[in-house]
């Protein structure tokens, strides 16, 4: 009855699709539906959560910038507060306000270390720049100034922490505990709406004292007088303060917003891309098999007068139905997932940890995302099978040729693909000023296309050439090897691209990881050979605000057995508008005990030249700004322009713009610092008793972490551990993808070769031989895909290690690869290929022999 009703009310494609999905092919339809729903869930979840995070970031940018049109900055090192009067007095300046900003962590078990941004401002003048509205405190700033620990918190934060006026707010700065007193509350608008409400305001001078930056500001925000022209005012300020700081439009600060948004969008795009890719491959695998099994039905429809293009349309209707259902289910689940994703994205955005964002709403864009992703996954899965189904000659199928795929009817478009590869590769190599990520992307696209080309053109030739050898190695079976791969040329190409791409990606990552490990390992141990490395936080995980205090440094210097201490500090300064690392170190100690990683010349002589007032620049800095040894470098400092002769170039890993390295005494003369970022000391004899003595001598609130000898190698490993964890996750995911592809190809080939296997069995092949044959084909696919993948990965690895890493991170690495890693990768791939072929092999060995005669 139901069937009759369906016939009356629905078009034939829908009736057939529903019967296929709800009937004989329901398992495969369920798999496809699951893939679509999962990708739509992730996509809609990401859409809702990232929209919320982006809105929060933009709100924060607007609230913090306020009405400021210009700002005076000096990198993370800051600027002297004495500049404030000079800036205020410059022509065209209506108001200039000082700002110090520091990130604290809430020191309460229920807050899980959530971040709080504390803004130090002059509350008498700051309302001229930023919008404040609240109770008590701002109307009466003197209350805030009356105590050094007074702070105004946003009402949102107060509500989260159940704070009222007069309560204590327990925070940590670095490792140091800080207790502040709540003196007022800010209504959740204007400045208080920034950082999701995780914001507090206090007197600028009190905050300076709290974070050890007395006399120094992070920036001065400037509001122009009415009618004043921004360029003219900036020039006036520059004339007034000279080269002691940089004047720039306040909008330049939005770079951090762009950077945070870019990070969020990059993570979202990557997750989405991976999800769509995985789901598409799963959907393709399931739909491909489903279509294979429906070939006789399709042939019957063709014989009854259905045109090939309508066969495709029938199958597109199938996919559209699945997409529609999957999108609906996925959108519903996405709403639940978005809350979890929001927490993750907030963490990734950097400063929204612990912030409760509530703006999770289903918009029209959410539904559009669901339909788009669902449709994309479903159609990516059905396009090739539909094309294949439409090309089957109906009579061949009905008269017994159902198992034979129409091979070789489309001429390979090798020439077009080769030209495409050449153009993309050429663009990747030749185009100047291409962002590194895009360059890598183009190389990958070219590489994957080349893999496809190689698979399409090279694999059949290779198989033909290999057959005599395989025949010798595996008597009897060798000549039949590779038949499954020839049976489905397009799917074989896809599988090779997938497996090869996976292996190339892993090989490339192995190259980068090994090169980075070896280079950094050598760099660390060579530079500080025999020394003990000391930091104020866990090594490789110490936060920038964790410093070694001056009294601790003094205690270390005075500890018996310590021969020399290399005191080290680093801050970001602006050089020609770019942030570069400015490092100061005890170069006399380095000359005596360490080894400066110079690229040319005698390390000791270079260190002595720096100690005498010179500067060494990193290779990255020299390349970026076109300077060399012998040049004189002019540097804006808080005390005016200073000139330093460049006495050498060193290798370091400071970042894309590189580093400048001075003697610590020169640094201290020009810039402020709370303490040492890290230090290295050398001892007479065994360092352990000395370390024990240092622990006894330093103040109890000072956390110190020591590393020497083997520890230093472990330090490098720890640096790379996060990278390796990501690498391992990607490898697992991609190995699963490769496995799915091999599984799909083999199963599809077995379906296509049913009669062939039946014939082999009828002719006397044992089920074991059929299983071995199918497994052999899976392994051949793994070996071919793996070999070209390793080759491509190594080919791409060299430029990535030597050029891209340098462009993107400023890391000059020596290319290295661990053969053992490649061996493990190859074995893993062979195991995955064999595993993926086990089920198809069982199916092949169980083909009924009566199929050989074409009988039902």
């Amino acid at each position: 009855m139901r069937t009759m009703r369906l016939h009356r009310h629905l078009p034939l494609p829908v009736v057939l699709a529903l019967r296929a999905h709800l009937g004989r092919h329901r398992a495969l339809s369920a798999v496809t539906l699951l893939a679509i729903a999962a990708s739509v869930t992730l996509a809609t979840g990401l859409e809702m959560s990232s929209r919320s995070v982006e809105a929060e970031l933009e709100q924060t940018a607007r609230s913090v910038a306020g009405a400021a049109q210009l700002e005076v900055v000096g990198g993370s090192a800051g600027i002297p507060e004495s500049l404030l009067d000079e800036v205020s007095a410059a022509k065209g300046v209506r108001v200039a306000v000082p700002v110090v900003q520091a990130a604290f962590r809430i020191d309460r078990p229920d807050a899980q270390g959530a971040a709080v941004q504390v803004l130090g401002v002059d509350l008498l003048t700051d309302p001229g720049v930023r919008a404040y509205s609240g109770e008590a405190a701002v109307e009466d700033p003197l209350r805030l100034l009356s105590g050094r620990d007074g702070v105004i918190v946003s009402r949102v934060l107060a509500d989260r922490l159940h704070l009222a006026e007069g309560d204590a707010l327990a925070l940590r700065f670095g490792t140091s505990p800080v207790r502040l007193t709540v003196r007022g509350l800010l209504a959740p608008e204007g400045l208080a709406a920034a950082y999701g409400g995780q914001i507090a305001v206090m007197d600028v001078y009190a905050l300076q004292a709290l974070v050890g930056r007395s006399g120094w500001l992070d920036r001065i925000d400037v509001v122009l007088a009415e009618g004043a022209e921004r360029g003219a005012v900036a020039s006036a300020i520059r004339d007034a303060i000279g080269p002691r700081a940089t004047v720039r439009p306040a909008s330049a600060r939005d770079a951090w917003l762009d950077s945070a948004l870019l990070t969020v969008r990059l993570v979202v795009a990557t997750l989405l891309l991976v999800a769509i890719l995985v789901a598409s491959i799963v959907s393709y695998s399931a739909l491909s098999l489903s279509v294979d099994r429906r070939i006789p039905e399709i042939a019957l429809l063709r014989t009854a007068g259905l045109e090939p293009r309508r066969v495709r349309r029938f199958l597109y209707v199938d996919a559209a139905l699945l997409a529609l259902v999957g999108a609906g289910v996925g959108a519903l689940l996405g709403r639940f997932l978005s809350a979890g994703l929001l927490v993750a994205l907030s963490w990734i955005a950097g400063f929204l940890q612990g912030v409760e964002l509530h703006d999770l709403e289903v918009h029209a864009s959410t539904l559009a995302t669901a339909v788009l992703v669902g449709g994309l996954v479903a159609f990516a899965g059905v396009l090739e099978p539909a094309r294949r189904a439409a090309r089957h000659a109906p009579l061949d199928v009905l008269l017994g040729g159902a198992g034979n795929d129409p091979r070789g009817t489309t001429p390979p478009r090798a020439a077009i693909l080769a030209a495409f590869v050449a153009v993309v590769l050429g663009a990747a190599i030749m185009l100047p000023r291409l962002p590194p990520i895009l360059r890598v992307g183009l190389v990958l696209v070219a590489g994957l296309s080349a893999l496809g080309l190689l698979a399409r053109a090279g694999l059949p030739t290779l198989l033909r050439a290999a057959r005599p050898t395989l025949d010798r190695l595996l008597p009897g079976l060798g000549r039949l090897a590779g038949a499954s791969l020839s049976a489905r040329p397009l799917q074989t190409t896809l599988a090779v691209v997938c497996v090869g791409g996976v292996v190339a990606g892993i090989t490339l990552s192995l190259c980068v990881a090994e090169s980075a490990t070896r280079t950094l390992d050598g760099w660390m141990s060579d530079q500080f050979r025999g020394g003990v490395f000391v930091t104020a936080g866990p090594i490789a995980a110490a936060r920038p605000d964790a410093v070694i205090l001056p009294e601790s440094l003094r205690a270390i210097r005075e500890t018996p057995g310590v021969r020399g201490v290399f005191d080290h500090v680093g801050e970001k300064v602006l050089y020609q508008g770019e942030e570069v690392l400015l490092a100061g170190g005890s170069m006399d100690v380095m000359a005596r005990f360490g080894r400066l990683p110079v690229l040319e010349g005698d390390p000791r002589a270079v260190a002595e030249a720096v100690a005498a007032g010179g500067i060494v620049v990193s290779d990255r800095f020299a390349w970026r700004f076109g300077v060399r040894e012998g040049d004189v470098l002019s540097l804006d400092t808080p005390k005016g322009l200073r000139r330093f002769p460049i006495v050498g170039r060193i290798r370091d890993y400071a970042g894309p713009a590189g580093s400048l390295n001075l003697d610590i005494r020169v640094f201290d003369d020009l810039w402020p610092r709370r303490g040492s970022r890290d230090l290295v000391f050398w001892t007479e004899g065994d360092p352990e008793p000395v370390i024990a003595e240092i622990r006894r001598r330093v103040p109890p609130e000072q956390a110190l972490f020591f590393a020497h000898g083997e520890d230093l190698s472990q330090f490098v490993s720890r640096l790379l551990r996060r990278f390796q964890a990501i690498l391992a996750s990607i490898s697992l995911l991609t190995a699963a993808l490769g496995g799915i592809t091999v599984w799909n190809l083999m199963l599809s080939s077995v379906t296509a070769r049913t009669r062939e296997f039946a014939l082999l069995l009828a002719t006397g092949a044992t089920p074991r031989q059929i299983r071995a044959l199918t497994l052999l084909d899976g392994l051949l696919l793994g070996v071919f895909g793996g070999s070209v993948g390793v080759g491509l990965g190594l080919l791409a690895g060299y430029p990535v290690v030597s050029r891209v890493m340098s462009d993107a991170l400023g890391w000059s690495l020596d290319f290295a690869i661990q053969p053992l890693d490649l061996a493990v990768l190859s074995l893993g791939l062979l195991a995955a290929s064999a595993l993926a072929s086990v089920y198809p092999a069982r199916v092949a060995a169980r083909v009924p022999m009566r199929e050989a005669s074409g009988a039902e």
């Binding site: 034979n404 005599p468 009897g476 089920p767 009924p848």
Partner: protein
């Protein structure tokens, strides 16, 4: 005209007059949809060594099923099949496969050549499945191809051969191991009448000159006339079993 050696290169038959195939009370039941189908319903048949038997019957009579059961391609629901002294369906899957490989040759309507192997490799297939290398069996393949007039097509892929050529390759493949029994399921069903006649002639000569026992399933009365004996099936039972001359006269 194809020429076969007048004397078989090696004797494959059993003692003169002995039975090559003895099938006893064969039953084969299927379930199709909700209904039970009795494809074979107590079939008893024996084929002597060197005999050429044709099995005929309307569609659905069970003739292909009988051939499959006789060749070990399907297991009967009940009954037994002896090929010589071997009870085919008491063998394990692997032993049955080995037995088929060495003793039984098959020819099907749709030729069924392996598309990725050359003509010569297709002929050598049962030997390759024995674990022999192609190089070591070439000396057995080439004379067969020569005999079937296909020497020039040895390196060709199946897709490059005509229907008649493909069926001759299939026949050569069936003969490469010098089987005791050759089972043919509508071998001319997909060929034009002239090529079909050539194939039937070939089967007859294989039986006469090599002493191979041939069982042919066909719809075609003319094809059946090449046999010594015609067995007619209807609804899974033997309706008649008589020498083919009688049938030919009736025709």
């Amino acid at each position: 005209m194809l020429k076969l050696p007048l004397v078989a290169p090696h004797s494959v038959g059993g003692p003169a007059g002995s039975a090559a195939i003895v099938a006893t009370r064969l039953e084969k039941h299927y379930r199709r949809g909700g209904a039970a189908v009795r494809a074979l319903d107590g079939v008893d048949v024996a084929v002597a060594d060197g005999e050429f038997v044709s099995i005929m019957g309307p569609s659905g009579s069970g003739k292909s099923t009988l051939l499959h059961v006789l060749g070990g391609l399907e297991r009967p629901t009940a009954g037994s099949v002896l090929i010589g002294d071997t009870d085919l369906h008491r063998l394990s899957d692997d032993d049955a496969a080995r037995f088929r490989r060495r003793t039984i040759g098959f020819v099907f309507q749709f030729f069924n050549l392996i598309p990725t192997l050359t003509a010569a490799e297709n002929v050598a297939l049962p030997l390759l499945l024995e674990g022999r290398r192609f190089g070591s069996v070439r000396h057995r393949v080439e004379p067969l191809l020569e005999l079937f007039g296909l020497a020039a097509r040895a390196r060709h892929a199946p897709s490059e051969l005509s229907g008649g050529e493909m069926q001759r390759i299939a026949l050569a493949r069936a003969l490469i191991v010098a089987p005791r029994v050759l089972l043919a399921d509508e071998p001319t069903g997909n060929l034009d009448s002239r090529t079909g006649a050539e194939i039937l002639e070939l089967l007859r000569r294989i039986c006469d000159e090599r002493g191979v026992t041939v069982v042919l399933v066909t719809h075609d009365l003319r094809a059946a006339s090449f046999a010594d004996r015609v067995v007619i099936l209807r609804d899974g039972r033997i309706e008649s079993d008589s020498p083919s001359q009688r049938l030919a006269r009736r025709d």
